[in-house]
Point group: C2
Chain length 308, copies 2
């Protein structure tokens, strides 16, 4: 029942000379997605964005930007290289590729090092690891080119591990429904007015894309006991509306990571959880990146796991 | 400069009907070691034990017991299976195989799952993971046969990560000497009266075997910045003599694990470090196993690492 929920991520910003990325059309993006061994399940569009829900995570396409996340054993690096084949490199304003620590990295098709070797052969870039190798960490590669992000270009990623309590039990149960999960995640409070597109997998697992104007949010839930993982990513300001606190309260993770791009980490250590890793880096491509790993204090008592 | 210091470990106890394991001789054990892709560097013997220092870690052979540790990308599982080929299974009183989280598990020749599949095809056994998959943890396989360890059969493993400060700098420097390292580890205090055999690797790295009667201790130091690791293992009672406290003071690890077999974990959380994982398990082969992972509070501030 093991499934690697942790996502790889690509983000690209293009110059107007490249034309609209949305106009490349669903067939083009479907081909990009297929290169990573995933497929498009649903499409949600508004004036600004096409949001594709994938069999493994999500793709968001704006006129001048796209963002793709894939989990499991998908090969996002292949999709990224495939995209690079179809664009004039001079039209790239910004490009980044991220991977994080996986539960079982040896089951992945390629390693971070292999991915970066292939990327560096194609575009000039820099690569970093934020966080220690033997604990939670995030790898990032970015194109080595100056870029000036807009004021409202802020990204927050909340990655939750070892979810516990009633919500976790519900998400692993047969009785779960899309309506029930939307309620559990308090979507009406944290994403008011967003258009939603979601999917319930068999026997469990849930994905959601949400858009409103040029704002987006996405959830991916891998509830499997022992390797549970829930990711939330958005370009909303997460300091509004106590979004992070609400999600931590709803899902009760044993540990979690908060990654920000031009978005400060507003969670401060308190009596309930400890800050395990704090790492910040000003990337030359214009983003201040932060990586913070937290652990709930009650999470230290662990039962031994009998293996098959 | 990356080197995987973290060891795999085999321990076997045999019945008297199997004859003396020491009498199998150096040539036999040299063959076992070669199967794991290691070689014997030094031999130290007393009335009870032959202690072999290996190119990757250590082998201790008593009349009715052996213990082998290997690090790097050695294939200890092959050595274990090679040994099993040469013994009547009925003569095995106890057998265990351990692996822990590695810094870069995808660089290993085999995974834990593959090792266990091969072992289970040979001897009946049970397998467990102590600690969460996404944090420090220890895997153990043991033969499924009741065994009654002697009263003084206690093992403690102290595995230290991210060593810091003067000692760490010394261990990474060109000026280090065997005498200097022995002093740094305070061997005269923690291993009084032990016979020692040690080895300084080029450009750095250090291994030590120590024996006194049927007691043993072994150190392996991989000082490489960013992936530093120091292991200490012994069948001494580590509550005598404040051994653990002395080593933590000397090496200043950012985090460490303490694994005990019929040996309680005497380190309790204090103002300086936090207990991150606590896991205990009564193995049906007669040992109470404990796994404890600790982190120093100052270790949470981490610099981003630029990767080549």
């Amino acid at each position: 029942m093991f499934f690697e929920g942790s996502e790889k991520k690509v983000e690209v910003v293009t110059a107007s000379a490249a034309g609209s990325l949305r106009e490349l059309g669903r067939e083009y993006w479907s081909g990009v997605v297929a290169t990573a061994n995933a497929e498009i399940l649903t499409t949600l569009s508004n004036d600004d964005c096409d949001a594709y829900l994938l069999s493994e995570s999500s793709l968001f396409v704006w006129k001048d930007r796209f963002l793709m996340l894939t989990c499991g054993t998908t090969t996002l690096i292949d999709a990224f290289l495939h995209f690079l084949d179809s664009i004039n490199e001079d039209h790239l304003l910004f490009a980044s590729y991220q991977r994080k620590n996986e539960y079982m990295s040896h089951l992945q098709v390629t390693s971070w090092e292999e991915d970066i070797e292939r990327l560096k052969a194609r575009i000039p870039g820099k690569a970093f690891r934020l966080g220690n190798m033997d604990s939670h960490h995030n790898y990032i590669f970015h194109m080595d080119r100056p870029y000036a992000p807009a004021m409202d270009d802020k990204t927050s990623e909340l990655l939750m591990y070892h979810i516990k309590g009633e919500s976790a039990e519900y998400l692993r149960s047969e009785k779960q429904t899309i309506e029930g999960i939307r309620k559990l995640l308090r979507l009406d409070e944290i994403l008011p007015g967003f258009a939603l597109s979601d999917w319930l997998f068999e026997p469990f697992g849930y994905s959601l894309n949400a858009i409103k104007g040029d704002r987006y949010a996405t959830f991916h839930i891998t509830p499997q006991e022992d390797s549970s993982y829930v990711s939330f990513e958005t370009n909303l300001d997460v300091q509004d509306n106590h979004v992070l606190e609400k999600l931590l309260e709803a899902l009760k993770p044993g540990s979690w990571d908060l990654i920000g791009f031009n978005s400060p980490a507003p969670l401060r250590e308190n009596g309930e959880f400890s800050s395990m890793t704090e790492c910040q880096l000003s990337l030359k491509c214009g983003y201040d990146m932060s990586f913070n790993h937290y652990q709930h204090k009650a999470h230290c008592k662990v039962e031994a796991e009998e293996l098959v």
